[in-house]
Amino acid sequence: MLKKLTVDNFRCLEEFEIEFGGLSLLLGVNGAGKSTVFEVIQRLCDFVVGHKEVDEVFPRSTITRWQKSANQIFDLLIDGPGGVYDYTLMIAHHPERGTAQVFHESLTFNEHPICVFENGKLRLPGPSGSSAKKNDFPFDRSLSVVGRLSPRGRRDRLSWFKQFMSRLIVVGPFSHGIGSIAHAEDAVLDADGGNFPNWYRHISQERQDLILEVFDKLRPVIGGFRSLTLPEGGSDQRLLRVKIARDDKQKKVIDYSFEDLSDGERILIILYTLLFANRGLGYALLIDEPDNFLALSEIQPWLMELQDLCDDGEIQALLISHHPEVIDYLGPENGIWLKRKPNCPTEVAAGPDAADESLSLSEVVARGWE
């Protein structure tokens, strides 16, 4: 479980620390830095398990505007089986050359190093945990050594960490860009959910038992819903289709293309699939405004399902929302409040004073809580 993120010199995050629970809701006005928190986590995933180069993932444009330092620092604390993983990344930007390089990257478990990259050299602890120079190897300063290192022998903890990073899903589903064609199988869902057919094609192969549960959950949510199918569509393509029955006896089933559904129906399918196709597998879901496009009456039932899965440790979820339904349901217990003044860094702040119980939390927020 993601426990704590520390960031220095990335956009509006300067000497910034935030701690997460099993279910957290990031709250704050526009521009407070909520989505930037998600962006950092997404970029760290891209760097470590997406195998992208540091220049591409952390370009110079991501440096805090009012900072003079050209160094960026990121640190992730993760609760894992038996202890705490600590991943640290330090990047040095070179303004003259317009390039960036990793000058420190490390992964520790309960403060014992798993691997350390510094000054262009990878250091692996010896059999007794020693860090003798004979275990030093040169390594490319533009790549993640943690991501590239082969998890063998005693480095099974490295394997766990990499799997955890690959199971962080950062998404702000936006139904307009989501079609029906699954060109391929994608293991990673895009930030806007636009490749949902490809991602669904991937998970439907791997997790058939969980997909049946997704269908069960969707049946009372979408009138007449029976199942999702992926028939062949020629040239190695498959088409994401939705079977809708006219009545409970399943007669007169019509096979719709996924894009024939309404915006809200598509988002509901994505949201319930995110929950129930990923449960129990160590996923963390970071969902930016899940309430977009949803009917008012559909928000709370999904939140209740989410809350149960998080409470039972089946998934971790971090949400961003401005919706009153979400704020009132999760805000009092699970809210993390962010605030920021113009040209100043984001801060984690105390939330609104809850002394006045005659107002809902969303009403307090609507009136301006800062």
Binding site: P220, G223, Q300, P301, M304, D311, D328, P332
Partner: protein, 194 residues
């Protein structure tokens, strides 16, 4: 299909809500599409009068024929008061709002754990409990830790009786649930006991 709320639940804190939510999910499959929580904005353990303040409106809405038909559940700890005093506060609240008191047969159920819901948890966890104004039991570390207690209660409900030594406020809650939520004929005194 469109959600149809059949039960509005008023709780003074998140622990009450976790308990009720999980109980309903076990005993009424698909309940999440039927229930609508109204929880004190203050959060955990800090809003003892909030449910009482909502009561008159809840009763008014329940009786309003132009509103969708629904049932109501309210939960409030007895705390240092007494069960009878707490219950009569609800009647006084309807009097003050100039509306008729809750009538027999109205699907508005009031649950009053005494001294608080932790007494119920202790009993459901197998402890011998005494329900007094002063005796308190350990709070759960997390709200979701009530899940085994809820499963135990659902099992007892399925068998139609509580294990010996049940706190009186839980026995009354079972009678209230059967009569006002499930719509069964009010149980006779003591019928919920083994």
């Amino acid at each position: 299909m469109p959600r149809k709320v059949a039960l509005v639940v008023y709780c003074e804190d998140r622990q009450h809500w976790a308990f009720i939510r999980r109980f309903l999910e076990i005993t009424r499959p698909g309940a999440y599409r039927e229930i609508r929580p109204k929880i004190s904005p203050k959060g955990r353990g800090a809003a003892e009068n909030w449910v009482l303040k909502q009561y008159a409106d809840a009763l008014r809405n329940y009786r309003n024929k132009s509103r969708p038909k629904h049932q109501v559940m309210l939960m409030r700890d007895v705390d240092a008061s007494s069960f009878g005093e707490r219950l009569s506060q609800f009647d006084r609240a309807s009097d003050e709002a100039s509306i008729k008191k809750r009538q027999p047969g109205e699907r508005v159920a009031i649950f009053l754990p005494a001294r608080n819901i932790e007494t119920w948890f202790a009993y459901l966890n197998g402890e011998t409990v005494e329900e007094t104004r002063t005796r308190t039991y350990r709070k759960l570390d997390q709200e979701s830790d009530c899940a085994p207690c809820v499963e135990q209660l659902a099992r007892m409900c399925g068998e139609g009786k509580l294990r010996r030594g049940a706190p009186p406020s839980l026995e009354k809650a079972c009678d209230e649930y059967n009569a006002r939520v499930k719509g069964k004929v009010p149980a006779t005194a003591g019928s919920a006991r083994r």
